[in-house]
Subunit: 340 residues, 2 copies
DNA sequence: GATTTTACCGAAAACGTTTTCGATTATGTA
DNA sequence: TACATAATCGAAAACGTTTTCGGTAAAATC
């Protein structure tokens, strides 16, 4: 099936390629008559501009790159959902890549996106990313970049985040107000800012409510998995019988915790209260349902994309663009794993 | 930041663009000496071919399109996961679009992908797609197309599926062997082949085991949601007290069912046994855990992509390609919502 | 009637690559 | 020495579009 080009329309109509192109783009210097003729024939022949040629000529691909740690995650798939939907409406397509929490892969994928010449990059850092040179490369290449959720404060670009510190504070405070006196925290990996901030929020809440901070009540996930939640719960139960509250870095971990206590017949929240983080759908249907912090994935994706498109637009016009950091609000969702 | 081109390398080295290009592509008609010089300088200048130009010249984008009903679904995000990972390894990038179960959107997105000139399209049909003209258009455009999971038998292309009929049979049979005498089926929408086939499998199993088929025990989801499962469970409980088994079209619906019976204190599986479909992670952590049919999303994505790449390759060489249909095996996963 | 303005059109360059085909030089053979 | 062969290179076309700039003819102005 031969694709129809400007040339063919021009030939058929006995006019130049230039005029055809202009007619289709509604230039003022082509008469209404020829304009109409071109439009009509283009419609008939079902002309579609060759995007390869357009890309080359205009130097833009109307495509943006998206790198996330992994897509099989309720939070991230929600973000992806928002981004591709919004992007499409604005005439952009989205290329998605997963870093699988590997700094090396992340580097490779940045290179890929640069060489594909995407118009902009949206990204959430991998947990293990320490060196940021590949991201600086993006900025040096003059490719608009917006970071979301897992960001680095060291990078000079726009960002969309929640206030993990205050959210961690809220979660802990909720446990305290729920009557807990000795609260353990199953935290995320050591590197990412997220888990650091949530941990800091936890610490601050303890302090504000005059509860002692005990480092032996801090448990550090590597994978942030169900199994880790389950195992740490077991550890807490056997080694710290008097712990009466657990703040888990994420719902998946929290659900592991719930599963363990259900199994050994410990009553939630009577004997131990639990709060998670992120508000996965799952948390609302397990029993007891898991209190959590809502993390507005869809909103985050939307804001990040909006910011990126603005920057792309400014960039195209050669205008200065001032980086912004958007902090999205979160709140505690009270369910049956805590008293309220 | 100016991008370096073949021209600049040629200029610097005092040779022609042609030779530079050939050197980089390891043509035999360029001397080892110049080849080395070009390679060296290209490395130094960090030359990256302009993919827009390459696309235009080679008429391929090394990009494939992927359309799914919605990404926020454990099954689909798993498929996406497999596809983008495998694709990247083979040098392809993936553009993802969601139909949101709308035929109209699906059409628009097909048009988008065609006009973007992707090298191939991977797709799972929306539940509401009845007219297939947009898919025929893909085939007419000579763009390799592979359908997976939600397919149409009317379309002449490669497909990757599970045998929903026999899987539905297995699910029902498992309930029967679990001791159920009166089994309700909460089925999917009327249109998609999947839910038809699972329903047919259910019917066949009843017949084979001499259980009467009762149309009033069939409930039809529209959204295939948690709420529908919950509400149909309520309906079943109030209107058909003697139903002792439920086969739900998908785990999410099954979890709704479980939630309702938990709420009203009906014992699962003693008073009523429940089986879902798809094996979402969630099903393993709720209580009681939900028996289900595993639906190998990752495998499905992998197979579909493999098939597509083969077809793209054949297509590029102008070779004939014989469409294949791959049927992936499924099996019953026995958990605590059924006796085993 | 002469001049300016307006309306309309097209030639051509450019984007950066790939590839064909012919040209040139060096090497080998008789 | 004369010729054939091999090795190495480059000119040029092509992919299809966008946009600049200049040109012509018609309309408007004086």
């Amino acid at each position: 099936m031969k694709e129809v080009t400007l040339k063919e329309i021009a030939l058929e109509l006995g006019i130049s390629i230039t005029t055809v192109s202009k007619a289709l783009k509604n230039y003022t210097d082509v008469s209404p008559k020829t304009k109409a003729a071109v439009l009509k024939l283009a419609e008939e022949l079902n002309y579609k501009p060759n995007s390869f040629a357009v890309n080359l000529r205009t130097k833009e691909s109307k495509t943006i790159g998206l790198i996330i740690p992994e897509i099989v995650h309720h939070f991230f798939s929600n973000i992806v959902n928002a981004i591709i939907e919004k992007a499409e409406k604005k005439g952009y397509l989205v290329i998605i890549l997963q870093s699988n929490e590997s700094e090396e892969l992340e580097k490779k994928q940045i290179d890929l996106l640069i060489s594909k010449r995407v118009d902009g990059i949206l990204m959430s850092l991998s947990n293990n990313t320490k060196n940021l040179d590949h991201l600086r490369k993006v900025i040096e290449h003059d490719i608009p970049l917006v970071l979301f959720d897992k960001i680095s404060k060291l990078l000079d670009c726009s960002k969309v985040v929640i206030d993990d510190r205050s959210a961690g504070y809220d979660a802990t405070e909720h446990l305290i107000k729920s009557g807990c006196k000795k609260i353990a925290h199953i935290r995320g990996p050591l590197n990412p800012q997220n888990s650091i901030d949530r941990f800091l929020g936890y610490k601050k809440a303890l302090k504000d409510y005059n509860l002692p901070f005990d480092n032996s009540l801090i448990f550090t996930c590597e994978k942030v998995s169900f199994e880790e939640g389950y195992n740490f719960a077991k550890k807490i139960y056997t080694e710290h019988k008097d712990v009466d509250g657990i703040f888990a870095i994420t719902d998946l971990v929290g659900i592991g915790v719930v599963a363990y206590f259900n199994e050994v017949g410990i009553k939630i929240p009577e004997q131990i209260a639990i709060i998670g983080f992120s508000n996965w759908f799952m948390s609302s249907v397990i029993s007891p349902s898991l209190s959590t912090i809502d993390q507005p994935g869809f909103e985050m994706g939307k804001s990040a994309l909006k910011l990126l498109l603005k920057e792309i637009k400014a960039h195209k016009k050669g205008k200065e663009f001032k980086f912004k950091t958007i902090v999205l609000p979160t709140h505690v969702i009270k369910r049956n794993s805590t008293f309220n």
